[in-house]
C-alpha cells in the first residue's frame, strides 16, 4: 500500500495499528492472554487463493479465489456469468442483485466464500431454454428497460418480490424494488411489468409482439 504521507499528506500508519474498530467488535492488536479457553479453533485460510465451491443456478462451481473476492466478482470475472452488473459496487444500486437461499442480496456486498452451500440464483438462471421467465417476459412486453444495465438486477428483484408476494400490491412492489436504481428512468414501466407478471395466466397485453406483421396501433 502506498504510504499515506505521499497520498494525503497525513500519516495513517499509527492509526492503522490502532483503529480497527468495527463490525461487531473492536480490533485486536495485543498479544495478551485471554480468559477464553484456548482451543484449536477454526482454521485460518487465505489471504491467497483458496478453494471456494458455489451452487449457482443449480450447478456446482469450483473456484480458487482469494477470500476477499465478492460473489459478484467471482461470477463475473471467474465464471463468465456477466448477467448481473457491477454499478455502484457498494450496495446502493441493486444491479448486482442475486437471490441467495430465497432472498435477494447485493452480490457486490457479499463475499463468495461466505455463500458456500447456499443456493445462488442469478439472472442467467431464470429463463428456460426457449422461454423467458414470466417476469422477464413482462419486462419485454411493457418496455420496462432501456439501456438494460440495471435490468438484470431489477428482474431478479421482481422475481423475488413475486415469489414472496404472488399477489403483490403496488405498495409491496414499491418497497421490495426500492433497493434498485435505474438511470434511464424505466421505473414506471418496471412497476407495470411487476403488476403484469403477477397475473401471467391472464390475457396477453396490448398488441405489441416481435416480428409479426400487422401490429395494431397503440
Amino acid at each position: 500500500m502506498s504510504d499515506k504521507e505521499d497520498r494525503f499528506g497525513v500519516s495513517r500508519r499509527d492509526f492503522l495499528k490502532s483503529a480497527g474498530v468495527g463490525g461487531l467488535a473492536t480490533a485486536v492488536t495485543s498479544a495478551g492472554v485471554t480468559d477464553v479457553e484456548a482451543q484449536a479453533g477454526p482454521r485460518v485460510i487465505g489471504p491467497g487463493d483458496v478453494p471456494v465451491s458455489l451452487t449457482v443456478n443449480g450447478k456446482r462451481l469450483e473456484l480458487r479465489i482469494e477470500p476477499r473476492v465478492t460473489l459478484l466478482d467471482a461470477l463475473r470475472n471467474r465464471a463468465d456469468l456477466t448477467g448481473n452488473k457491477r454499478v455502484c459496487d457498494r450496495g446502493s444500486c441493486g444491479a448486482c442483485t442475486m437471490i441467495v437461499d430465497g432472498r435477494t442480496a447485493y452480490s457486490c456486498s457479499t463475499l463468495a466464500i461466505d455463500v458456500q452451500g447456499k443456493q445462488i440464483r442469478t439472472v442467467e438462471g431464470l429463463a428456460g431454454a426457449n422461454t423467458l421467465h414470466p417476469v422477464q417476459q413482462a419486462f419485454c412486453d411493457v418496455d420496462a428497460l432501456m439501456c438494460g444495465f440495471c435490468t438484470p438486477g431489477f428482474v431478479v428483484a421482481t422475481v423475488a418480490l413475486l415469489e414472496k408476494y404472488p399477489n403483490a400490491t403496488p405498495e409491496q412492489a414499491r418497497r421490495e424494488l426500492d433497493g434498485n436504481i435505474c438511470r434511464c428512468g424505466t421505473f414506471v414501466r418496471i412497476m407495470e411489468a411487476a403488476m403484469k407478471a403477477k397475473t401471467v395466466a391472464g390475457p396477453p397485453t396490448r398488441q405489441a409482439r416481435w416480428g409479426d406483421m400487422g401490429v395494431a396501433r397503440g
Binding site: M1, D80, T82, L132, L145, R183, T186
Partner: protein, 717 residues
C-alpha cells in the same frame, strides 16, 4: 451540404404497418436474460485488468512518480506513468499513472503501490469564490473567469418603461454528474498493429478515430465494437484518457486489458452538467406581456471548461440584454449532458415566469400562452398548454399558497421546452440474399434508446417483410459510417438512411421480378411478405420466391441519409403536481403530465420510454442529485451512489405521456427534450403549494424550509 433538396421517391408510407406502432424492443430478451454483453462483460482469453492512479488533490504539481513497487507487485503485467514530474493536475481524479495485473483485486493493490509525490497548490472550488479577484487560481497559467460577449436586442430602457411590474432576483442550478450505470471503460486487444476495442461509447466510428489519432496508428487498424452500452447521456463520445491508457497497457502487457472505471472515478472524471447562476431583472406590462429582461449569468464547467446556456429561454422578451461569464474551478470538466444548457436556461426562466405571472395576477398557463412564440409545426406550446391544462385538471389549481390546513400542501406547476433533434449524414448497407434473408448494416449504436429496433422497423416496413426476417447489424466500425448518438440526432439520421437504402434495394428486386410477376417495376409494391402489383394484387410472388430469382448474386446496396424523411425542432410542455410537508420541507411528486412531439414516431413504445426516462432524470435533477465538493479541501464528498442521491421506485410518481404524432414532419429525435422542463414544473408546483419561492436547485428540504421561513417573516419571497 445536402439539405435543401428533396428526392421525391423517398417518402414515408402513408399507411404504415409497423411505423408509429408499439413494437417491442428487439434486444429486450437478451437484456432481461442477462445474455447481452456490454463492454463491462467482455471477457477475452488471457485478459488482464487495468487500473488508473489519480490525483487525490484538486490542484497540485507532481513532484515524482515511483513505479518500482508496483512493477514488482504480484500479478502485475504493465505499469505506465501518464504524467511527468512538474506536471500540474487540475482536479481530484486527474489521471497520473496506471497498472495492469492478472486480477482486478491485484490491479487495485498495485495501483496503491505507485508512489506519487505531490506539491499541493491552492485550489478554488466555489463559483462565487472563484470570481473574487483575490481568489486562488484554478491553474498556475490561467484566469478563473472568462467574460462573455454582451448580447442585446431591442431597447432595455423602453422595455422597463413599459413594465408595470419588475422582478429582480438571483436564480441558480447545481452541478450534477451523468452517473452512467455502466461506467466509462474499454477492453483493448492488439493483434500485431491492429487494435480491437470494445468501448462503452455513444459513437463507435468516432472512437475509432480517437484511438487512431491519439495512438498514432491508421484508423483502418482500429475496430471499435459496442453491441450494448449502459448509458452515456452525452458523456461517451471518445476513448478518453482511460481508453488510451487501456490500449497502451494492452500493448505493453501483450494481453487484452479490461479497464472499467469505478464509481468514484466516474463521478470525478467523466463529465458533468455545469452549474448556472443568473441575476435577472425582468419587466412585465399590466396586460401581462413580457417587456424587458436584463440578465447577468455565470456558471462553472469545472477546470477550464465553459458553462453557457440559453437565457432567456423560449418566451419572448422583446427587449433583452445578457452577459455570461464562464467560471473555472478545480473540478472535473463538464461534458454534454442530456440537452446541454437547456435544463439550466429553462429553470432560470420558468421560475421567473411564475413570479411575473403572480405580479400581474394572471394564471401561469394563460401568462405563458400570452408570451409564447406563435404556434408552428415545431412550436406547439400554445396547443399543449391548453390541452395539457385540460387533461391535468389545471382548473383545480389554487392561487399561490395552498390555503388548506395541516402540514401537507399541494401545488401544481407548468413549464415548456424545445430541442432541435435534426439528423443528417448516416450511411447504411443492405443485402437481400437469394434465400430471402436480409442483412441491414449500419455503424450506429444503441444506447438503450431503441436504435437497433428502429433500424429493423424501418427495414421491415420498407421491404414489406416481418421484422424477424431482418438481421440488423450495428455497433461496430465494420459497418457503414454513422454519427455518434448525441443531440437526439440518431433516429433522424439513421431512419432515413435505412429507408433510402432499403428502397433502392427493393427497386432492384422489383426490376428482377417484374417480368415474372407480369407487372412493371414501378407498379410493384412489397407488403405482407409478398411482392405484388399495386393495382392488381392477384399478380404477386412470395418474398422468398422473388429472392430466388436473384440466382447466385445478392442485391447489395449502399445508401445514405437524404433530406425529406427527417425534420427538426420539437416542443413540449409538462405539468406537475407535488405535495410539500411544510414541517419537514420534504417534497413528494404526485404526478407529471408530459406533452411532447417528435415528428413521425418510429416506435411508439420506445419513444414513450424516452419521455418517461427524461422526466425521471429531471426529477433527480430537481430533488436529489448534487455533486458536492468540500468547501475547504475541494474534494468531492459524495462520489458514490449512497450520498449522490437518485430516485428509487418509491420516489417516482404517476407519469402520463402524451405523444403528438406528426408524420408529415419526418423523424425527429426525442432523447433530450423531455428532460428539459420537468424540474421547472416541479419547482413551480412547490411554489404554488407553499407560497414560498425556491430559486435554486436542488429543492433540498433545507432550502424549502428556509424559503417558507422567509415568506412567513414577510420577506421578499
Amino acid at each position: 451540404m445536402t439539405w435543401g433538396w428533396r428526392v421525391a421517391k423517398y417518402t414515408w408510407p402513408e399507411k404504415p404497418t409497423l411505423l408509429s406502432t408499439r413494437v417491442l424492443r428487439l434486444d429486450g430478451p437478451d437484456k432481461v436474460a442477462g445474455r447481452a454483453r456490454y463492454t463491462y462483460d467482455i471477457n477475452r482469453p488471457g485478459m488482464i485488468y487495468g487500473r488508473i492512479v489519480r490525483s487525490p488533490y484538486p490542484h497540485a504539481r507532481v513532484t515524482s512518480i515511483d513505479l518500482a513497487a508496483a512493477q514488482t507487485a504480484p500479478g502485475v503485467k504493465a505499469v505506465v506513468a501518464y504524467r511527468n514530474p512538474g506536471d500540474e493536475v487540475h482536479y481530484q481524479g486527474d489521471p497520473v499513472a496506471a497498472v495492469a495485473a492478472d486480477t482486478e483485486e491485484r490491479a487495485r493493490d498495485a495501483a496503491r503501490l505507485v508512489r506519487v509525490r505531490w506539491e499541493p497548490l491552492p485550489h478554488v472550488s466555489i463559483e462565487a469564490q472563484a470570481m473574487d479577484a483575490a481568489a486562488p487560481k484554478w491553474s498556475t497559467t490561467q484566469e478563473n473567469t472568462r467574460p462573455g460577449v454582451r448580447q442585446e436586442t431591442g431597447n432595455l430602457e423602453t422595455g422597463f418603461n413599459d413594465a408595470a411590474h419588475v422582478v429582480e432576483q438571483t436564480y441558480s442550478t447545481h452541478v450534477i454528474t451523468h452517473v452512467c450505470l455502466e461506467t466509462h471503460g474499454t477492453v483493448c486487444e492488439w493483434d500485431g498493429d491492429k487494435l480491437t476495442a470494445w468501448v462503452s461509447t455513444q459513437g463507435v466510428h468516432q472512437c475509432a478515430q480517437g484511438f487512431a489519432q491519439a495512438l498514432g496508428i491508421p484508423q483502418a487498424n482500429v475496430r471499435v465494437i459496442t453491441q450494448y452500452m449502459g448509458g452515456g447521456f452525452g458523456s461517451k463520445f471518445a476513448p478518453d484518457s482511460q481508453g488510451i491508457i487501456c490500449a497502451k497497457l494492452a500493448k505493453l502487457a501483450n494481453a487484452p486489458v479490461k479497464l472499467m472505471l469505478d464509481r468514484k472515478e466516474e463521478h470525478l472524471d467523466t463529465g458533468n452538467r455545469p452549474s448556472a447562476f443568473a441575476h435577472i431583472r425582468a419587466g412585465v406590462s399590466a396586460e401581462g406581456k413580457l417587456t424587458a429582461f436584463d440578465g447577468r449569468s455565470w456558471g462553472t464547467g469545472g477546470a477550464g471548461a465553459g458553462s453557457n446556456f440559453p437565457l432567456p429561454y423560449l418566451y419572448q422578451f422583446p427587449n433583452r440584454k445578457r452577459v455570461h461569464t464562464d467560471v473555472y474551478i478545480n473540478a472535473g470538466q463538464q461534458r454534454a449532458m442530456r440537452a446541454p444548457g437547456h435544463p439550466q436556461g429553462c429553470f432560470l426562466t420558468e421560475i421567473l415566469m411564475d413570479e411575473l405571472a403572480d405580479r400581474v395576477k394572471i394564471d401561469p398557463v394563460e401568462f405563458r400562452i400570452r408570451n409564447a412564440p406563435p404556434i408552428a409545426p415545431n412550436a406547439q406550446w400554445i396547443k399543449y398548454f391548453q390541452e395539457g391544462a385540460r387533461r391535468f385538471g389545471w382548473e383545480k389549481r389554487h392561487p399561490t399558497g395552498d390555503p388548506t390546513p395541516g402540514p401537507i400542501k399541494t401545488g401544481m406547476g407548468v413549464s415548456a421546452h424545445l430541442w432541435g433533434g435534426a439528423g443528417r449524414g448516416s450511411t447504411a448497407h443492405v443485402d437481400i440474399n437469394p434465400d430471402g434473408s436480409v442483412v441491414v448494416k449500419c455503424g450506429t449504436q444503441d444506447l438503450g434508446t431503441g436504435t437497433r429496433t428502429i433500424v429493423t422497423i424501418v427495414a421491415a416496413e420498407t421491404l414489406g417483410v416481418p421484422m424477424n426476417a431482418i438481421t440488423t447489424e450495428i455497433g461496430d466500425t465494420q459497418y457503414p459510417f454513422s454519427g455518434g448518438s448525441g443531440g437526439s440526432t440518431t433516429a433522424a439520421s439513421v431512419s432515413p438512411a435505412i429507408r433510402v437504402t432499403c428502397t433502392d434495394a427493393l427497386n432492384q428486386l422489383f426490376a428482377k421480378v417484374a417480368p415474372t410477376v407480369g407487372v412493371q417495376p414501378d407498379d410493384l409494391v412489397a407488403e405482407g411478405g409478398r411482392i405484388r402489383g399495386a393495382t392488381d394484387a392477384s399478380k404477386s410472388v412470395a418474398w422468398k420466391d422473388a429472392c430466388k430469382l436473384l440466382g447466385t448474386e445478392p442485391i447489395s446496396v449502399d445508401g445514405k441519409w437524404q433530406d425529406g424523411l427527417s425534420g427538426a425542432g420539437t416542443s413540449g410542455v409538462q405539468f406537475s403536481e407535488v405535495t410539500v410537508d411544510i414541517e419537514t420541507g420534504i417534497v413528494r411528486i404526485k404526478r407529471i403530465l408530459a406533452m411532447q412531439d417528435c415528428g413521425l414516431i418510429v416506435d411508439r413504445l420506445t419513444a414513450e420510454s424516452q419521455v418517461y426516462g427524461g422526466v425521471i432524470a429531471a426529477i433527480n435533477f430537481a430533488l436529489y442529485e448534487d455533486r458536492l465538493l468540500d468547501r475547504v479541501t475541494g474534494q468531492m464528498v459524495n462520489p458514490n451512489m449512497e450520498f449522490y442521491l437518485l430516485a428509487g421506485m418509491s420516489d417516482v410518481p404517476q407519469i402520463d405521456v402524451v405523444l403528438n404524432d406528426m408524420p408529415e414532419r419526418g423523424v425527429i429525435g426525442i432523447g433530450e427534450p423531455p428532460t428539459v422542463s420537468t424540474a421547472s414544473a416541479i419547482a413551480n408546483a412547490v411554489r404554488n403549494a407553499t407560497g414560498a419561492t425556491i430559486r435554486s436547485l436542488p429543492l433540498h428540504p433545507h432550502k424549502v424550509l428556509a424559503a417558507i421561513e422567509q415568506q412567513r417573516a414577510g420577506g421578499t419571497n
